[in-house]
């Protein structure tokens, strides 16, 4: 059966589907929706999930990206340095909390693209591995 959709106000919809009625909120970026006030994030838009799913497929495994916006407080590995899987590469701080970014695999650091004090955005490439 065809779903019936009415826009309640911009970004908020009433959806009638198979006899059931839902209220959907959509975010401006279209990356989030809420269904009957339960929120969902589009996984493919999530840089964390993207690097996880692409972990073995070429470029993703070479790049370590910021999972959250934040500030680089410490760089733990330098270009040319050999690192183990799980070894800390740098420490990112957001909202008074520090999070260590770990190397997804063993390898050699090709480049560190940020320096201590840099502000980074979600999904930004911070370190590349050879």
């Amino acid at each position: 059966m065809e779903p019936d959709i009415v826009e309640i106000r911009p970004g908020v919809y009433s959806v009638l589907l198979n006899g059931q009625s839902f209220v959907i909120h959509e975010s401006l970026s279209s990356e989030w929706i809420a269904v009957n006030s339960m929120e969902w994030l589009r996984v493919l838009a999530d840089p964390r999930a993207r690097s996880k799913s692409g972990g073995s497929a070429g470029s993703a495994a070479r790049e370590v990206k910021a999972a959250m916006p934040g500030k680089v407080v410490r760089v733990l590995a330098q270009a040319g340095e050999a690192v183990e899987a799980g070894q800390g590469l740098l420490i990112l701080e957001a909202m008074k909390m520090q999070n260590e970014l770990k190397s997804p695999r063993a390898g050699v650091v090709a480049a560190v693209r940020v320096e201590e004090g840099s502000t980074v955005t979600s999904g930004q490439v911070l370190v590349t591995l050879e």
Binding site: V15, S29, W40, L41, R42, M68
Partner: protein, 485 residues
């Protein structure tokens, strides 16, 4: 009463204080950093003063800039809120020196209670129960070993100047003591510029219960009952309530703890709002931990059960008035619960999630109180702590309050940043929480899991079909393509 008050803070607490000022017909001055130029507080205040760049070290922690702003705007008092400079004796002293009233205790009272070791010594002097341990800072390993074996393992190492779990270590046997002392001490130095640490017996699964105090400049000191704040993560409170579920089991507890708290505050010459924190063990013994010399984040639950406005009272007392209530006037009614809504990701170790709030639906209706510092379109800055808003409810009894909170959380939608609304929905439905069996390690074993999307795929497909433009942006709808946050 004051003519104009500067609020030296940001976020929801700045809004909370600004509201009280307007209710008292006092002109208000908000302050802001670069990141907070578009803040709700700036929009709500009568006047606003720019402090500087976003890092708090260049804005909200700058005593000189705050005093200058107060002078420029002709404010006769400063409300410090909580955090930032609220427990900084130098700030209180600088205000006094500039002829500006600091709405809080005196610099001397902050000094005598600000250090945990000093507060502990004061408590011992007045005979209040404290957790067995050292009365002063521990400096050498031999002394630490002797004391630890005397009070018995496990022991807790704590930073004298500390808070928020920094410089804190639990040690379960002597072999680990040296390393833990070293770590705690260096962490304390980094966080509080003081490496001083002390030892305490670590209690097993204690409750964290605190007493709200109020003193005036005429020698009157009263307590406004207890708040149970046992649910903590990394020593940060997550849910608070009043009364404590323990009060229903042990009706004498509030009175006994209140008396002890008043004795400690009296010995320090305490004025204005303050909170005495205690740990309570399984036998209902309570032990004084420390005094928070400011208005607490969780003050709304006390306001809801006492029908008093603590910020109004702070203004009264700071302007020299006699406390308008005696101890015997204080009545407690019903049950209040507060959830701290944070910009954080419960599915990723609660990592903070700053960013734009793209859509915001907020709860209202009977018994619901929302203290918020955000709005739809607001960018949550990464420079400050992740508290967005405090959602509090009141109901005649605890179970009704839990149901009301469940309902209010159901009305809440925050899109664009990760947040802990789902986490609270699960937490308040937990049987142990509903039973009131709370302790400070409760959340260590509470497992949050992302709920599965209900009928996401079909709905997403329908929506994508409805909006051709959105169809490109959306992934092929699969059940696994969506996760909640």
């Amino acid at each position: 009463m004051f003519g104009k008050v500067l609020v030296a803070n940001r976020g929801e607490i700045a809004v909370r204080v600004l509201r009280a000022l307007r209710e008292r017909r006092i002109r208000s001055v908000a302050v802001y950093s670069d990141a907070d130029r578009k803040s709700l507080a700036v929009q709500l205040a009568d006047e606003a003063a720019y402090l500087g760049p976003s890092p708090s070290s260049e804005s909200y922690l700058r005593i000189d800039k705050l005093i200058a702003a107060a002078r420029l705007h002709g404010a006769d008092a400063i409300h410090p809120g909580y955090g930032f400079l609220s427990e900084n004796a130098d700030f209180a002293a600088a205000c006094a020196e500039a002829g500006i009233v600091f709405i809080g205790p005196t610099a001397a009272a902050i000094r005598s209670l600000g250090s945990k070791t000093a507060a502990r010594q004061l408590a011992l002097r007045v005979g209040a129960p404290v957790v067995p341990g050292t009365a002063a800072a521990v400096t050498d390993l031999g002394e630490a070993k002797r004391i630890a074996s005397q009070i018995g393992y496990p022991v807790m190492i704590k930073a004298a100047a500390g808070g928020g779990g920094k410089g804190m270590r639990v040690v379960d046997r002597e072999a680990n003591l040296a390393a833990a002392l070293r770590d705690a001490s260096s962490e304390a130095e980094r966080s509080f510029t003081s490496a001083e640490v002390y030892l305490e017996k670590a209690l097993i699964r204690p409750r964290h219960i605190e007493i709200q105090l109020f003193g005036d400049h005429h020698g009157n000191l009263i307590h406004l009952g207890e708040r149970e704040c046992s649910l903590q993560r990394r020593h940060q409170k997550v849910i608070e309530e009043s009364p404590s579920p323990l009060s229903a089991i042990d009706p004498t507890l509030r009175h006994r703890m209140g008396e002890a708290a008043i004795e400690i505050a009296r010995a320090a010459g305490y004025t204005n709002a303050g909170t005495a924190e205690f740990l309570v063990d399984a036998e209902h013994n309570f032990y004084f931990l420390e005094m928070n010399t400011r208005l607490q984040v969780e003050h709304p639950v006390t306001e809801l059960v006492t029908q008093l406005d603590l910020v109004h009272l702070q203004l009264d007392v700071a302007s020299g008035a006699v406390l308008p209530h005696r101890q015997e006037d204080i009545r407690w009614s019903g049950s209040a619960i507060e959830c701290r809504l944070y910009a954080e990701d419960p599915a990723n170790n609660f990592f903070p999630s700053p960013g734009v709030i793209e859509r915001l639906e907020l709860p209202s209706g009977p018994g619901v109180r929302l203290d918020s510092g955000v709005y739809e379109g607001w960018t949550v800055p990464l420079d400050y702590d992740p508290l967005l808003a405090k959602l509090a409810v009141w109901a005649p009894d605890r179970l009704t309050a839990i149901a009301r909170m469940e309902r209010a959380l159901r009305e809440t939608v925050i899109l664009g940043i990760r947040n802990n609304v789902h986490f609270f929905r699960q937490l308040i439905a937990d049987p142990a929480f509903v039973a009131g069996e709370l302790h400070t390690t409760f959340l260590n074993t509470f497992n949050y899991s992302d709920p599965a999307p209900p009928v996401g795929d079909a709905l997403v497909a329908a929506l994508a079909a409805y909006r051709p433009k959105a169809a490109e942006a959306l992934p092929v709808a699969r059940r696994s393509a969506w996760r909640n946050s």
